[in-house]
Amino acid sequence: MYDGGKIIVGLIIGIGLFLSPFIYNAGTAAKPPDPQLTKKAKEAKVCVAPKAYMRESHFKMLDEWRHTVVRDGERYYKAADGKIYYKSLQVTCLDCHSDKTKFCDQCHNYLSVNPYCWDCHIAPEEKK
């Protein structure tokens, strides 16, 4: 007894699962995200921290801001260049980055990140 047929079927299923990303992606455009800065953000040129850091770790800063504001009542953040920022998602961050769809959601959706910021905070109304 060899059961060759069963072995081959099993192999196809098993290998197929491993190769599924190839198959899945072949049918999609898979455009990389393209976050858009608003006019105001472009003019500001700098954020509260360097761009690379913000791309990798902005949520860490937000988490830290949340803790220090809510628990310790510290409302001001001193950036590396000495500039003082008011620690607020809604007042500070969203002031520049006011277009959630074109900015935040771009990468978040791409990477299946579902931040619970918006459970409490209200996203700014987008200009149509």
Binding site: M1, Y2, I8, G14, N25, E56, F59, D63, S112, N114
Partner: protein
């Protein structure tokens, strides 16, 4: 090969595996090599290696039907049989295999020998021991969940099951822990379970004297490799962040056969990726093939139906055995003497005289 040597050897091997991409990308900037060429090569080795190995197993036939029967066989209608542990047909086998593969049923039977001598008399107990089963199960399922969660980097758009897994895996919301700056992004259960389980699987090889005796470098190496894979992954998620948008661009590039190597991805990612490449390259040549082998194990995947369904051995060949004729020829006289029937009849008196 004692365990110290085995451990040192395996640890050194893993250290080299970590250093290669560290130097290769960190110092020499060989991003295309480590980001594209090696992953493709590793993936090809993995796939082809598994196919070759499984087909090689398949080339050898299953000459005999030798299930390990772990329960009552199918018998009279008034005797309750155990259709799963002693299957009489394909249905039972399928269930038995599912239990084996999904719940590690055989390992669940495990006990631990407790031997003592009281007043010169041996006392043997078989104690509860499910830690190996638990660690093995947690390890494999955590690995599976972590692997599937990684599909958010492998597929665009991200399929729904990935999002679901992420929310289930992170349901403890440990991100809300009361430490400044810790806890985001969300902490996954499986990350911790995997590390704990693998650590236990490694420790038991060192702490339990019997397991220490029988362990080989080939046992320590994959565990250490997986530990470092997990460590780099966790580091990357919580401490040494990398730009995961770019990571996904690179990964999707590989899967779409149009590789791109975006700038600005930290070295830690390349180390993580290289460890994975080594792991899957090593896979088809190692004991890790138990992943496929379990499906072909003849003591588990066959029915105990030999007495009512004929099993054919493709290389069965005729053998020469001692036939009745030969037997009777040797013992005929003695047989006749005690009145045993014979086929050819006794020697007549005359024949006896001639001799």
């Amino acid at each position: 090969m004692n365990f110290v040597l085995s451990l040192v050897f395996s640890s050194l091997a893993v250290l080299v595996v970590v250093l290669i991409p560290w130097i290769g990308v960190g110092a020499l900037n060989l991003k295309i090599l480590f980001g594209v060429v090696i992953p493709y090569a590793a993936l090809a080795t993995f796939i082809v290696g598994i196919i070759v190995r499984v087909l090689d197993w398949g080339r050898s036939p299953v000459p005999y039907r030798i299930p390990t029967t772990a329960g009552q066989m199918w018998s009279f209608p008034w005797i309750k049989s155990n259709p799963i542990d002693n299957p009489k047909g394909t249905g039972g086998v399928v269930v038995r295999m599912l239990f084996e593969v999904l719940t590690f049923r055989s390992l669940f039977r495990n006990t631990r020998l407790e031997y003592s001598k009281v007043d010169g008399v041996p006392r043997i107990n078989y104690e509860w021991e499910k830690w190996l089963w638990l660690a093995a199960l947690l390890f494999h399922y955590s690995f599976l969940v972590i692997f599937l969660r990684h599909f958010r980097f492998f597929m665009e758009p991200v399929p729904g099951f990935v999002t679901l897994l992420e929310s289930l895996d992170g349901f403890l919301q440990m991100g809300a822990a009361p430490f400044n700056g810790f806890g985001l992004p969300g902490v996954y259960l499986t990350d911790m379970l995997l590390m704990a389980a693998v650590t236990w699987l490694l420790l038991r090889r060192i702490l339990y004297s019997q397991i220490r005796y029988l362990s080989l470098p080939a046992d320590y190496f994959p565990l250490l490799l997986i530990l470092s894979l997990g460590t780099t992954g966790i580091l990357m998620r919580y401490l040494l962040r990398v730009d995961i948008t770019k990571v996904k661009e690179l990964v999707i590039g590989i899967f779409k056969f149009s590789p791109v190597v975006p700038d600005g991805i930290g070295v830690i990612f390349y180390i993580h990726l290289f460890i994975l490449c080594v792991l899957i390259t090593y896979f088809p040549f190692s004991k890790l093939m138990h992943f496929a082998g379990i499906f072909l194990s003849p003591t588990r995947n066959l029915s105990n139906n030999n007495r009512f369904v004929r099993h054919v051995n493709p290389w069965n060949y005729p053998v020469k055995f001692h036939t009745y004729e030969e037997y009777e020829d040797e013992f005929r006289d003695a047989m006749i003497e005690v009145g045993l029937p014979v086929d050819k009849g006794a020697k007549t008196a005359e024949e006896g005289e001639k001799e």
